[in-house]
């Protein structure tokens, strides 16, 4: 087991290096130049002298390979450098937004799990009844409804009906839980509903498959209590694909809620990502991609480890 964990952890290094190479060169291919964007605000004319000074300051006058080595050297020391746009340390830029994105991802995941697992199980147990059909309609509607659209509906509903809008500035949970939840519950519901749709369908189909397995029939034949059969034998085994879906979706939520963050005016990593790309802020975009890649890889790693607990037949080699 320990050997397997070490092997998996070591495998992260070439994966992350590959991501680093790809994102570094992709950013250089994208048309546009941070220096010109930086000084062409409000249609103003940027003097060449200013552009040249800024390029030197940002190290963009150096050969690409040198820029790459400098950046990779920094990564190896866990030094992400400074944002080319703001000049602030990247760790500071990310720290400001990470708490919000993480909390929103956790809250949306909780909403999704609370909806998906009971509904998926019930739909599977009551297959082809009105309950099943209702759950299926709900989940298909969830899949077909973008979370940002649902977010807009929430906002308009609150605005028109209650003449109220969620707070526009993030307050950490430990500072003011009411204010914090008043802001984040709405995006969590909007995102969680869509997220739950995927998980509900996965739970339902996995449960249906498991319920037809021989060992379930055997359990029933030997007179095991139905609740025990469902919770210990069926649900636990059906959770393997569901867990994968939930975990990957969670990783996506960390940096992928761009439009939802815009709609709810959330100062999260998704907005930062879009701005960084829009500004051609190479260092910040690269750092964010590395962060999201790391989250994806790490979450996958955790899922693999959880598989063994859920299914003892899985052994690590």
């Amino acid at each position: 087991m320990i050997k397997y964990i070490i092997k998996r952890l070591l495998l992260m290094i070439p994966t992350l290096f590959g991501v680093a190479v790809i994102i570094f060169f992709l950013m250089r291919i994208v048309p546009g130049d941070i220096v010109e964007l930086r000084f062409a605000g409000e249609s103003a004319y940027a003097q060449k002298e200013n552009l040249d000074k800024e390029r030197v300051r940002l190290g963009l006058d150096k050969p690409i390979w040198q820029q790459f080595l400098t950046w990779i050297g920094g990564l190896l020391r866990l030094d992400f450098g400074t944002s080319m746009w703001t000049g602030a340390p990247i760790t500071e830029e990310i720290r400001l937004r990470f708490a919000l994105s993480l909390q929103l991802a956790i809250m949306a995941t909780i909403v999704a799990i609370l909806l998906a697992i009971p509904l998926g199980v019930i739909a599977a147990l009551r297959q082809d009844t009105w309950i099943d059909y209702t759950v299926r309609i709900m989940s298909i509607a969830g899949l077909a409804t973008p979370s940002f659209w649902l977010g807009i509906v929430f906002i308009l509903g609150l605005l028109i009906v209650f003449k109220w809008l969620p707070p526009m500035v993030y307050t950490p949970f430990w500072v003011n839980p009411v204010q914090n939840l008043a802001q984040l519950i709405w995006p969590a519901l909007a995102v969680g509903y869509r997220y739950s749709a995927v998980a509900t369908r996965m739970t339902r189909s996995a449960m249906l498959e498991v319920l037809r397995e021989d060992y379930i029939r055997t359990a029933r034949a030997k007179g095991l209590w139905e609740k025990l059969i469902l919770s210990r034998h069926a649900l636990k085994n059906a959770m393997l694909p569901v867990l994968t879906v939930i975990a990957l979706e969670f990783a996506f939520l960390i940096g992928g809620l761009v439009v939802t963050e815009q709609v709810f005016n959330l100062n999260g990593l998704g907005m930062l990502f879009v701005e960084a790309v829009g500004h051609r802020d190479y260092t910040l975009t690269q750092a964010l991609v590395m962060l999201v890649a790391f989250v994806f890889i790490f979450v996958n790693f955790l899922v693999d480890l959880t598989y063994a607990w859920l299914d003892p037949r899985i052994r690590f080699r």
Binding site: P31, Q47, E54
Partner: protein
């Protein structure tokens, strides 16, 4: 010149008319009240800023995103009169008074006594000189965004703590306007002497408000400066500028009264939505905006090297009908020349009418356009690309209108709606035939507004790629004419050559600034520039 009334389009629901009427009444009542009521002290003004700047240094930035949240913290030597709707009248801020030598080459400013920086130190002429030295003659590693506007300055002197003298190489008609730039914040000389880059990451001024904090991506906050030199001001206890990047969220913030105002501007539809929701609780101020979309024609590509073809493009436009139609859906409205209508150097309507494409007789203009195209050898149905940036408002509706107008003289324009960065690069490199270009200034002033149109090589953003010595001479003449009437004449000559005789560029419609704000907000007047009148020292909340 500003329009404080709301005109609703035919077909607009009746309740909107009623709400509009209510808002007019409220506005007029509010205006009167502003003049008569005693300002109320207290309260926090909450406003929305749609974007954020890269650094905190006004001297190196060019975006309103810096001015809106930080102008209240700083003082400038001069400023635009916050009660002047034209946004062109300059008054003293730190300067108590000033004199101009007869030859127009020496400006002497008396600096107010008793002004203090927020760290408690006195602000003197030494600080003004150090700040302007940084702007006019920055060290090699320091960027001064508007350095090019101060080329006339030969030397800046501070002979005593309350006197600053600007000596010029030649008379400069726009110097006073340039010294009122809302970006030219006065920094502390001692700090600049130690570190010229300090203000890029720190905030410390002498303005009506003291900087409290900036949480990136979230908000800026400032609190009342009890030691402000203008005794009795500011009225507010503080301000909070919320960073709200999404347009719908900005509207929602004002609608839900989470913010009193957004100082840049809203679209007609957004205005109507806010007025409909808030009724008498909202006041709408409108003004022509010192921004305009232009038709750029690449003089290096045929047939746009021929002025007959270029004239045809401007002659085809029915600007007056366009104004009526587009102002209902987009942030454009006034038909104007090279200066914002209603401002001192604006083109009188009778003269405007004489320029190509500005006649009310559109049929005659279009017949002339067809004749010119034929003469220039441009065939019926000639197809070309109109490059435009993918910013919906107002670029998209204006471009669609242009395509329609040109179709009426037998031209087929293909609207290429491309990513902003690519659009900018294509314009700069001359990789286009015809494009939607833009001009926006921080203040209405001929030097600022006409600079772009000088020959390629002098102006770095003349994307028409032409060289016109006559136009350059006219620019210099207007720029050095200290007599306003003489300057007007040169501006008119410049305009005639630019828009009519050579038709280097075609102006579309002036942008239109629409600010629906909480009726509680008093003491703030809209101007044609969204860069000025953000110091908030005279602003108050009625409840």
């Amino acid at each position: 010149m500003t329009d404080v009334r709301r005109r609703d389009a035919p077909g607009v629901p009746r309740h909107l008319f009623v709400l509009a009427a209510v808002s007019i009444v409220m506005l007029l009542a509010g205006r009167g009240a502003d003049a008569q009521e005693r300002p109320r002290y207290g309260g926090e003004l909450v406003y929305v800023v749609p974007t954020e700047p890269a650094s905190y240094d006004g001297h190196r930035e060019g975006t309103f995103a810096l001015v809106h949240p930080l102008a209240p913290v700083y003082s400038t030597l001069l400023r635009f009169d916050p009660t002047d709707r034209t946004g062109t009248k300059v008054v003293g801020d730190l300067a108590e008074s000033w004199t101009v030598a007869k030859d127009g080459r020496t400006y002497t400013f008396k600096i107010r006594r008793g002004v203090r920086f927020h760290d408690g130190s006195d602000l003197t002429s030494k600080d003004v000189k150090a700040s302007y030295d940084k702007i006019v003659n920055p060290p090699a590693d320091v960027i001064s965004f508007r350095k090019g506007q101060y080329t006339a300055i030969e030397a800046i002197e501070a002979p005593d703590p309350t006197t600053v003298i600007f000596r010029l190489k030649w008379p400069a008609a726009s110097l006073i306007t340039a010294l009122a730039s809302p970006f030219n914040w006065i920094y502390k000389a001692d700090i600049l002497a130690k570190d010229m880059h300090w203000y890029e990451t720190h905030v410390m001024g002498s303005g009506a408000f003291v900087f409290v904090e900036h949480v990136k991506g979230a908000y800026w906050a400032g609190k009342k400066n009890p030691s402000y030199w203008d005794k009795g001001k500011p009225y507010l206890d503080g301000y909070r500028a919320l960073v709200v990047k999404d347009g719908n969220a900005q509207v929602a913030a004002v609608r839900a009264e989470r913010a009193h105002v957004q100082f840049r501007g809203f679209t007609p539809a957004e205005r109507d939505s806010i007025v409909q929701a808030l009724g008498p609780k909202v006041t709408v101020q409108e003004s022509p905006w010192d921004c305009v979309l232009l038709v750029g024609m690449n003089h290096e590509k045929k047939p746009w090297d021929d002025k007959r073809a270029r004239r045809a493009l401007t002659l085809a436009l029915d600007r007056y009908q366009g104004s009526q139609a587009l102002s209902k859906i987009a942030i454009v409205k006034s038909v104007g020349g090279v200066q914002v209508p209603g401002t001192p150097f604006a083109t009188p309507p009778a003269e405007l009418e004489k320029l190509a494409g500005y006649s009310h007789d559109t049929a005659k203009s279009r017949a002339e356009a067809r004749r010119l195209l034929k003469e220039a050898g441009v065939p019926e149905g000639f197809a070309f690309s109109l490059k435009n940036r993918n910013v919906p408002m107002p670029y998209e509706p204006v471009a669609i209108w242009l395509v329609d107008q040109w179709r009426r003289v037998g031209l087929q324009a293909r609207h290429d709606f491309i990513e902003s960065t690519k659009w900018e690069a294509d314009l700069r490199e001359g990789n286009y035939e015809v494009a939607v270009d833009t001009q926006c200034s921080y203040a209405v002033d001929p030097d600022l507004d006409l600079y772009k149109f000088q020959s390629m090589g002098i102006s770095g953003n003349n994307y028409g790629r032409y060289v016109d010595q006559t136009l350059d001479d006219l620019y210099q003449k207007q720029s050095r004419a200290l007599d306003a009437e003489e300057r007007k004449k040169w501006v008119r000559d410049f305009e005639r050559r630019l828009l009519d005789e050579e038709a280097h560029y075609a102006y579309t419609l002036q942008w239109h600034r629409i600010i629906p704000h909480s009726a509680k907000l008093r003491g703030w007047t809209i101007t044609p520039s969204h860069f000025v009148n953000n110091q908030l020292d005279g602003v108050w909340l009625s409840e």
